[in-house]
C-alpha cells in the first residue's frame, strides 16, 4: 500500500521560473566576491579564482539539474474533499489537507512569476505549519483552481480548527 503522487503537473514554464529564481540567488552570491576582488586589490588572485570556479560549477549544476528535478516532483491535486501536493527536489514533501479544514485560498504573482505568466496558489489551514503552496501554475489553471476551491470550502461549515 503506497500513496500515489498527485495527478497534475505544474506548467512547463515553471522550469524557467525556477531557473530564474536560482539565477537571482547565484547573482546575489556573486556580489560579495566582486567586493572582495576590488577590496583585496593587491593580494594574490588564486583564492579569488578558486572561489569563482566553485561558484560557477555549483551555479551551473544547480541551474541545470534543479528545475528538471523539481518539474518531475512538483504535482498537485484538488478533489472534492482534499488538497494534495508534492514538492521539492533533494528534500521532498507531500502535504495533504482536508477541504473542511481550509481557511483561506490565496493566489499570488511575484515579479519573477509575472515574467513567466505563472501564479502560485496557497491554501492555508488553522495551523501555522500547514499552508499548502502550489508553485508555477499557469494563470488560467490557478484561477480555475481558486474558484473551485473557494466554492468547495464555502460548502463546508464550521471554523475549521
Amino acid at each position: 500500500m503506497r500513496l500515489r503522487p498527485p495527478m497534475n503537473r505544474v506548467s512547463p514554464r515553471a522550469l524557467w521560473y525556477w531557473a530564474a529564481r536560482a539565477a537571482v540567488l547565484w547573482i546575489v552570491l556573486l556580489v560579495p566576491q566582486v567586493i572582495w576582488w576590488f577590496a583585496d586589490g593587491d593580494g594574490a588572485r588564486t583564492p579569488h579564482l578558486i572561489v569563482g570556479v566553485v561558484w560557477l560549477v555549483l551555479a551551473a549544476v544547480h541551474m541545470a539539474v534543479m528545475p528538471q528535478w523539481r518539474y518531475r516532483v512538483h504535482r498537485w491535486e484538488a478533489t472534492e474533499t482534499a488538497v494534495y501536493t508534492q514538492s521539492g527536489w533533494l528534500n521532498q514533501e507531500r502535504r495533504i489537507a482536508p477541504i473542511s479544514r481550509v481557511q483561506t485560498v490565496d493566489s499570488e504573482r511575484g515579479p519573477i512569476e509575472q515574467l513567466f505568466k505563472l501564479t502560485s496558489v496557497t491554501v492555508t489551514t488553522a495551523s501555522a505549519a500547514g499552508p499548502i503552496k502550489i508553485d508555477g501554475l499557469a494563470a488560467k489553471d490557478a484561477d480555475q483552481l481558486v474558484a473551485d476551491l473557494t466554492v468547495r470550502v464555502g460548502e463546508t461549515t464550521g471554523d475549521a480548527t
Binding site: A82, D106, G130
Partner: protein
C-alpha cells in the same frame, strides 16, 4: 516585467463583480504612512545634509520623499476588495500581486481599529481574522475605509449587531460541557460557536468566584523543589547577572580588577595550575546555578495549583511574587506534552504542558504560559497528564519503535556531526596555530555523540489509539506528544534524499494548537501511511496507489 496595472482590467473589475476600493481619503493617509516607514533613510540624508554634503543630499531627500508618496498612491490604486454572499476577497500588490480569499464561514473576528491619522480623516482599519494562530499579520486587512463603511462592513460580515471585540470570555454557561465527559468524542472540534477568540486569558485574580464545583488535580508538593536545580533555569540567571554586571562595569568605568573580592579571586586562580582553576570555576558555576535554579523554581511555581472547574475549564495558578492565573477551556485542549529534559530525566522528573489552541508554546512572555505541571516526579506528571486528557493509556502505552534503519540514522547523524567538528578542530590546529589539546579534547565528541545517538534511538517511538496520536523523540529534551486525532488538520510527509534511500518518512501532523505541528520522525513509509490513514479516516484513501490513475495533465480536476 510589467510596469503598471492594466487599466482595462482595473475598470472592468471595478465596474462589475462588485470590487470596491478603499476610501479615497486614504490617498492622504497612505503617503504619510509610507513616509513614516522611510523615516530612517530620510533622517540619515537630512543629517548628512546638515553636515554639509551639499546639494546632493537635498535631491536624495526629495527623491526618497517622492518615492514614499508614490508608494502610498500605488497602495491605494492596487488594493481592492469585494464581499460576496460566501467570500471576502482582497486584491493587492503591483509587483507581487495577491488575491486573498476567505470564506465567510471561517471568519471568526472582525476588528475595527483607527489610529490618530485615521481619526483625523474619519477612517478606520478593518482586520478580518480566521483564527489562524500564527502571528503573521498580512491576513485580510482593509486599511482604510470610512468609519461608517467600516462599521457597516463589520456588521455585514458578522450578521449581527456589533459587539466590542475586546470583551474577555465570560465563564461558560454550565450547560456547555460537563467536566467529566472528557474523551475526544464529546469535545466539539469544528462546531465552535464564534463568540470569543480568546481561549485562554491570564486573569488578574482568582478566577473562581462563581458557582460550580472545582476539583483540584495537582498542587505543589514542597518536595518537588528538589527538581529545581535540574531545570537549568539558573544558567539563564547567570547569563542575565553576567550581562548586567558587564554593563555596570562599562557604564561606571570601574576596573573590576580593582574591586577587592574580584581582585583576590582572580589572583588566587592565577596562582593555581590551569586544570585546578577550571575545576574551581566549574564548581562555582554549578553551586551558583543550583541556588539560582532553586530560587527560580520557588518564585515561578510556589502556590502552584491545577484544578478543573465543572464548567469545562482548567485553571492553573502559580507564582510567589507575581501570581499567574491561566484558564484553558477544555474544548480548546488538543492534547498534552510530557517534556523530559536530559538533566530532569536523570532524576526521574518531568514537566507537563498543554497543547491548546490559542496558547503559544515557548515564546517570550508567554513562555510557560501553558504549563500544566512544573518539574515533578515522573509518576505524578504521567498521572496528571492522564487525568487532564481523561485517558491514562496514551501516556503509559508502550510505543512502537521505528526499526533498525531509523536507529542507524541516529548513529550516522551523530557520527557525521562529531566527525565534522573534529575535522574543524584538526584544521584549526594545523592551519591556525591552535594548541594541540584542542584536537585531542575534540575527540571526546565521538563517544559523546555515540551516547546521544543511543539515547535518541531509544526515545524514538509512536503509537496510535482510537483517539490519540502519540509520538516521542529527542534526547537533550525528550518529549512525548499526545495529540487528539480529530485535532489533526493536515499531514505533511517529508523525505530527504537519505530518508528516501532507506524508505523512511517524517510524518508531521499539523494542528491549530501548541507548536502547530507534531512530528513522528523517521517512521517506515508503510507505517507512516497506516498512521495517517487510521488517524484521519477517509482522507487518504482517494490517493492510494492501487486505485486507477487518470493520465497526467495540467488541468484542474474540477
Amino acid at each position: 516585467m510589467t510596469t503598471a496595472v492594466d487599466p482595462a482590467e482595473e475598470t472592468a473589475a471595478d465596474a462589475g463583480e462588485g470590487w470596491r476600493r478603499l476610501s479615497p481619503r486614504m490617498l492622504a493617509v497612505h503617503p504619510v504612512m509610507e513616509l513614516r516607514r522611510l523615516i530612517f533613510p530620510l533622517l540619515a540624508v537630512l543629517i548628512g545634509l546638515r553636515n554639509g554634503s551639499g546639494v546632493d543630499g537635498g535631491w536624495w531627500a526629495l527623491g526618497i520623499g517622492a518615492l514614499g508618496i508614490g508608494l502610498g498612491f500605488l497602495r491605494y490604486f492596487t488594493t481592492s476588495f469585494r464581499i460576496t454572499p460566501t467570500h471576502v476577497q482582497v486584491r493587492r500588490g503591483l509587483l507581487r500581486r495577491r488575491v486573498l480569499t476567505v470564506p465567510r464561514d471561517r471568519i471568526r473576528t472582525v476588528d475595527v481599529t483607527s489610529n490618530v491619522l485615521h481619526r483625523i480623516f474619519g477612517l478606520a482599519r478593518v482586520t478580518v481574522g480566521t483564527g489562524r494562530t500564527d502571528m503573521k499579520s498580512d491576513g485580510v486587512k482593509l486599511d482604510g475605509l470610512s468609519a461608517a463603511a467600516a462599521e457597516n462592513l463589520h456588521r455585514e460580515l458578522l450578521h449581527r449587531p456589533p459587539v466590542p471585540s475586546s470583551v474577555p470570555p465570560s465563564p461558560l454557561p454550565a450547560s456547555s460541557l460537563p467536566a467529566s465527559s472528557l474523551p475526544a468524542s464529546s469535545l466539539p472540534g469544528s462546531s465552535l460557536p464564534s463568540s470569543s477568540p480568546l481561549p485562554a486569558s491570564p486573569l488578574p485574580a482568582s478566577p473562581v468566584a462563581d458557582a460550580g464545583s472545582e476539583t483540584t488535580l495537582a498542587t505543589l508538593d514542597p518536595a518537588w523543589i528538589r527538581y529545581g536545580p535540574f531545570t537549568l533555569s539558573g544558567l539563564v540567571a547567570i547569563g542575565v547577572l553576567f550581562g548586567l554586571g558587564s554593563r555596570l562595569v562599562n557604564e561606571s568605568h570601574i576596573d573590576p580588577a580593582k574591586i577587592g573580592v574580584v581582585h583576590d579571586s582572580i589572583g588566587y586562580l592565577r596562582d593555581q595550575p590551569l586544570p585546578l582553576a577550571i575545576l574551581v570555576v566549574a564548581a562555582a558555576v554549578v553551586v551558583f546555578t543550583t541556588i539560582a535554579s532553586t530560587i527560580g523554581y520557588v518564585l515561578t511555581f510556589w502556590n502552584f495549583r491545577l484544578s478543573r472547574h465543572s464548567s469545562g475549564t482548567l485553571h492553573v495558578r502559580r507564582g510567589l511574587l507575581t501570581t499567574r492565573n491561566t484558564t484553558i477551556e477544555e474544548r480548546r485542549l488538543r492534547g498534552v506534552e510530557l517534556s523530559e529534559p536530559l538533566l530532569l530525566r536523570s532524576v526521574h522528573g518531568a514537566r507537563v504542558l498543554a497543547i491548546a489552541t490559542g496558547l503559544r508554546v515557548g515564546r517570550g512572555g508567554d513562555r510557560g504560559g501553558s504549563v500544566l505541571l512544573p518539574p515533578a516526579p515522573r509518576a505524578v506528571a504521567v498521572d496528571v497528564a492522564g487525568t487532564v486528557i481523561g485517558d491514562a493509556d496514551p501516556l503509559t502505552v508502550a510505543l512502537t519503535p521505528h526499526g533498525p534503519r531509523a536507529r542507524l540514522r541516529r548513529f550516522t547523524r551523530a557520527g557525521t556531526v562529531s566527525t565534522i567538528l573534529i575535522l574543524v578542530a584538526l584544521a584549526t590546529v594545523l592551519f591556525a596555530d591552535a594548541p594541540a589539546w584542542v584536537f585531542w579534547s575534540a575527540l571526546v565528541l565521538l563517544p559523546l555523540g555515540l551516547l546521544l545517538a543511543l539515547d535518541r534511538a531509544a526515545s524514538l517511538g509512536h503509537s496510535l489509539s482510537d483517539h490519540w496520536l502519540v509520538s516521542r523523540f529527542g534526547s537533550l529534551v525528550r518529549r512525548r506528544y499526545v495529540l487528539r486525532t480529530d485535532a489533526v488538520i493536515g499531514w505533511n510527509m517529508s523525505t530527504s534524499v537519505f530518508q528516501r534511500r532507506v524508505g523512511l518518512t517524517t510524518l508531521v501532523a499539523t494542528t491549530a494548537g501548541g507548536h502547530q505541528h507534531y512530528a513522528i520522525p523517521d517512521v517506515p513509509d508503510a507505517e507512516a501511511l497506516r498512521v495517517a490513514r487510521t488517524a484521519v479516516p477517509g482522507l487518504l484513501d482517494q490517493f492510494l496507489a492501487d486505485r486507477p490513475v487518470a493520465p497526467v495533465n495540467s488541468r484542474p480536476v474540477a
